[in-house]
């Protein structure tokens, strides 16, 4: 006996399989709605959270570039090893040569010198530890954007007094304001204690917690005397030419850092990515944690789909029998229910993507206050911006949709297999 050896159902059969599956999904709208809503929220949340985490990372990196460390931060190896204590040792040597070399690199726009130190600010009653940064008031704004966030004044060329600019929150805690005098004490380069009165000329209100809470700037002119610096410079900060894509800026900065290290053994040049590594790790582990949450939600959705399709199988046992009697094979029956799961998956994923895009759009246009995300604990310090904006990621959206779809098909495959396993004679006469 000859018969057709077409193993795949033709388009006509596929069409019928789709038609039956689709109408069953619609027919049991209520039953499937819950599953679809769960999936939708799972995927939407995944896309939204990923967007905000990416936005936080970006905001954090931008803070490093613009406010704290610049695109490439250069110190001596020895200084780098003891950076935590901000020693007034291990200064840079052959600075003019070094500067000339850095400026000759592609993509470098500006550089500035800095010397950091640890100090104490006191209003006469309380004293608070601060991170002092001695800067060049003319070149520093070419690398950092701190002046953008200053209330009051930036350093003037020819003032007579000792002047400082400090974090707004820090000033608030000391009960001090612009034009108040405050006592700064610190160890000098020769490890003697020194203290002096400084006039507060400006307050920093930047989207960067560390600056706001313990940042303090003064000019090299004042620092020279106060810290016995003798031209000691511990750090060079580099501003790179702007790139639209932060990944490109990352590459540019890395190349410059590598060049410098190669050219000047004994120097350590860190791109902003390396500086930010620590908090990028934190946000990575955060997105892992959300990954677990999303996985749980999708698991619930998966169980929902499996259950929905299983109910569909049980309520249609005789239908399965009829289709088998009219010549559909086991694998066609399994397709019928796989398609049903897949339809739920596609709707759920699509709804999730739409919800995700709504979340992301909101996050991109309005953002959310950092405090709301993190609570009042600034465990990450670095990226406590005021408002964190979402980041658009097509990849995340595609991953979310595909993952949702795969979960649905996988979940549907169990009841589908069950349906295919039924004996046709039992199915037809099933009461």
């Amino acid at each position: 006996m000859r018969r057709g050896s077409n193993n795949l159902p033709s388009t006509g059969t596929w069409k019928t399989i789709f038609k039956i599956a689709w109408r069953n999904v619609v027919r049991h709208g209520k039953r499937t709605a819950f599953t679809i809503i769960t999936m939708c929220f799972g995927i939407g949340l995944y896309i939204g959270l990923d967007s905000i985490f990416k936005g936080m990372d970006k905001a954090g990196l931008e803070n490093i570039i613009n406010l704290t460390d610049s695109s490439v931060r250069i110190s001596t190896d020895k200084y780098e090893a003891e950076r935590n204590s901000l020693p007034l040792d291990y200064g840079l040597s052959k600075i003019p040569e070094l500067e000339k070399y850095i400026m000759s690199n592609d993509g470098v726009e500006a550089i500035t010198l800095r010397t950091r130190f640890l100090g104490q600010l006191s209003n006469g009653m309380d004293s608070i530890p601060v991170t002092g940064i001695a800067i060049d008031p003319v070149t520093d704004p070419k690398v950092f954007t701190i002046p953008k966030y200053i209330e009051g004044n930036w350093f003037s060329e020819n003032s007579q007094a000792n002047e400082i600019v400090l974090g707004k929150r820090l000033a608030g805690e000391l009960g001090a304001g612009i034009n108040d005098w405050i006592i700064l004490s610190s160890r000098t380069k020769y490890d003697t204690q020194n203290a002096d009165d400084f006039l507060i000329i400006g307050l920093i209100d930047a989207p960067e917690v560390s600056l706001n809470t313990h940042g303090m700037l003064l000019s090299f002119k004042d620092a020279e005397e106060f810290l016995d610096l003798e031209e000691l410079r511990t750090e060079i900060a580099v501003r790179m030419k702007n790139r639209i894509n932060i990944e490109d800026l990352m590459k540019d900065s890395k190349i410059v850092a590598q060049n410098i290290q190669k050219e000047f053994p004994g120097l350590s040049a860190q791109s902003f990515e390396e500086v930010g590594k620590q908090f990028l790790e934190i946000s990575k582990s955060k997105s892992k944690a959300t990954g677990v949450i999303i996985f749980t939600i999708l698991l619930i959705a998966g169980v929902g789909i499996a259950n929905t399709v299983l109910m569909s199988v049980y309520s249609r046992i005789r239908e399965i029998g009829v289709l088998r009697a009219f010549g559909l094979q086991r694998k066609d029956i399994s397709k019928l229910f796989l398609v049903e799961g897949a339809i739920i998956g596609v709707i759920g994923s699509l709804a999730g993507v739409i919800l995700g895009i709504i979340f992301v759009s909101y996050l991109i246009f309005f953002g959310i206050p950092a405090e709301k995300m993190m609570g009042s604990i600034d465990m990450t310090g670095l990226y406590m911006g005021k408002i964190i904006y979402g980041h658009w990621s097509t990849k995340t959206i595609i991953v979310g949709a595909i993952f949702g779809f795969i979960v649905a098909v996988f979940a549907g495959s169990f009841p589908a297999r069950k349906a295919a396993k039924m004996e046709v004679t039992d199915a037809i006469h099933f009461i």
Binding site: G12, K19, R318, L323
Partner: protein, 231 residues
């Protein structure tokens, strides 16, 4: 007379726990084209089992079945499936229409599965058979909008649309009131004579049974009597 089906010493044994049940205990039977045969006998006598085996839904434990002279044995499940797809149709006691498909879609289904005809041919065939069972005008209804008698007429149309060489009906009237049951049997008989389609149906309803041209009585898996009526 053209013999289309021949059963040779067909035995079907079921095992329930330790117990072996001979649902069919050696059935010999031949069916010729265009017969209108009733299968009668008490509940549990083996009617359904016999119809399942004739319909390639199940295989006999022992014995041979010849379809149009060729022996179908050692066929895989999928091969049996393909055979059913082309040559055999079923009518069921509880109609078993696909609830989400319209009358027309239900009737077209076997042809869609069979994949032999064009869309237009399928539509023409469905129209033709729906007219024959008196359902013209109800093509776009869904099964839930029909009465039991109408549903069974759809099932008959569905069984006949692909012009199978045999139509098997297991208790096709058991879920219908006696008036509707006779109506359904009339339609089947009518199609049997106009299209020369071969029917075997099981029943325990005497009113239905009397319409048959041949009555086979089964008891305990054996053919107890086989009576052909002259018209």
């Amino acid at each position: 007379m053209e013999k289309i089906l021949e059963l040779e010493n067909v035995v079907k044994t079921y095992t329930k726990g330790d117990e072996k049940i001979n649902a069919l205990a050696g059935v010999n039977l031949s069916i010729t084209k265009g017969e209108f045969t009733a299968l009668v006998g008490p509940s549990g006598s083996g009617k359904t089992t016999l119809l399942n085996i004739i319909g390639c839904l199940d295989s006999p434990s022992v014995g041979n079945i010849f379809y149009n002279g060729s022996l179908l044995s050692n066929l895989t499940e999928n091969e049996l499936s393909d055979y059913r797809k082309e040559h055999i149709s079923f009518i069921f006691q509880s109609f078993n229409l696909i609830p989400v498909l319209t009358v027309r879609e239900n009737v077209e289904l076997p042809l869609v599965i069979e994949q032999k005809l064009s869309k237009e041919e399928i539509k023409a065939r469905a129209d033709d058979i729906l007219k024959a069972v008196g359902l013209k005008g109800k093509e776009d209804r869904f099964p839930r909008e029909l009465s039991g008698g109408q549903e069974q007429r759809v099932a008959i149309a569905r069984a006949l649309v692909k012009e199978p060489f045999i139509i098997l009906a297991d208790e096709p009237t058991a879920n219908l009131d006696s008036h509707t049951a006779e109506e359904i049997i009339d339609i089947m008989k009518n199609i049997n004579s106009t299209r020369n389609a071969t029917f075997i149906f099981s029943t325990h309803d005497l009113l239905v049974q009397k319409h048959a041209r041949r009555v086979i009585t089964i008891r305990d898996g054996f053919i107890h009597s086989d009576a052909k009526k002259e018209e």
